[in-house]
Symmetry: C2
Subunit: 122 residues, 2 copies
DNA sequence: TCCATAATTAACCGATTAGTTAATTAACTA
DNA sequence: TAGTTAATTAACTAATCGGTTAATTATGGA
């Protein structure tokens, strides 16, 4: 996988790595802090590897503080994704519209009581 | 990879599949239409597999028309991604800000140089 | 200096992925 | 009915991925 964007998407295609990002979204954390929620499920070297994937994808940066490695989230990698998404805005916004239309029918239903009258959702 | 979002990100982590989505963003297309740009690089069964990945990820839908299989883009899959991205908005917007700050320095330099005065574009 | 802690590296393994070729299914057409 | 086109399925392979255990590096403290 040569290109940067593929690496980024690939890094995000794993729930463990997304959970790590979620934790980092609340602030910097060392490797062992990040590891803590997962150590029942996997070893520390597995964590190291996941973090390396995130780092190479440009989604986090790692620095040094004595024997600790504080990690922080890196907006650049995420920006690459939203930039790519932008060209499909018309499609995912159409989905929002369908959701909106659906919610409208739900509200209509509630107003009518149990009559169950609804507009067609297109 | 059990969860839907992982499948979606994974499907997007391939340049061939992203190119197929790009083509589909310009309108419906059959499998052989979609295959055309790639047949120098890979076989038709490989295309079939890529499309199956996109379909299972909820990024496209396939229908039937005689022996053809018209495919179209499906906004739902993309919406899952933008929904997930939303929680990191503060981070990728910070990246936009850094870009903006950088552009400001470029503009400032130009002003100093050739008196190329311009308003910022946003 | 010796030990504990934080993290990484090395070597390995099974499952999945991305591709192949060959065969097959399904629909139209002469 | 026989042939052609569109697409999929089957069976296989090489490379990558996500994990393991054991060993190693690097830093701080008693």
């Amino acid at each position: 996988m040569p290109d940067q964007l593929s690496q980024t998407f690939s890094a995000l295609a794993d729930p463990t790595r997304r959970a790590m990002l979620a934790q980092l979204s609340k602030g910097e954390a060392n490797v062992s802090d990040l590891a803590k929620p997962f150590l029942k499920d996997m070893s520390l070297p597995a964590i190291t590897k996941h973090l390396k994937v995130l780092e190479h994808a440009g989604l986090i940066t790692k620095s040094r503080d004595a024997q600790w490695r504080p990690c922080k989230i890196n907006g650049e990698g995420l920006k690459d994704v939203v930039d790519w998404m932008e060209q499909y805005r018309v499609f995912w916004e159409a989905s929002f519209d369908r959701l909106e239309a659906y919610l409208k029918t739900v509200v209509a239903k509630e107003k009518k009581g149990k009559k169950n009258v609804r507009k067609k959702t297109k």
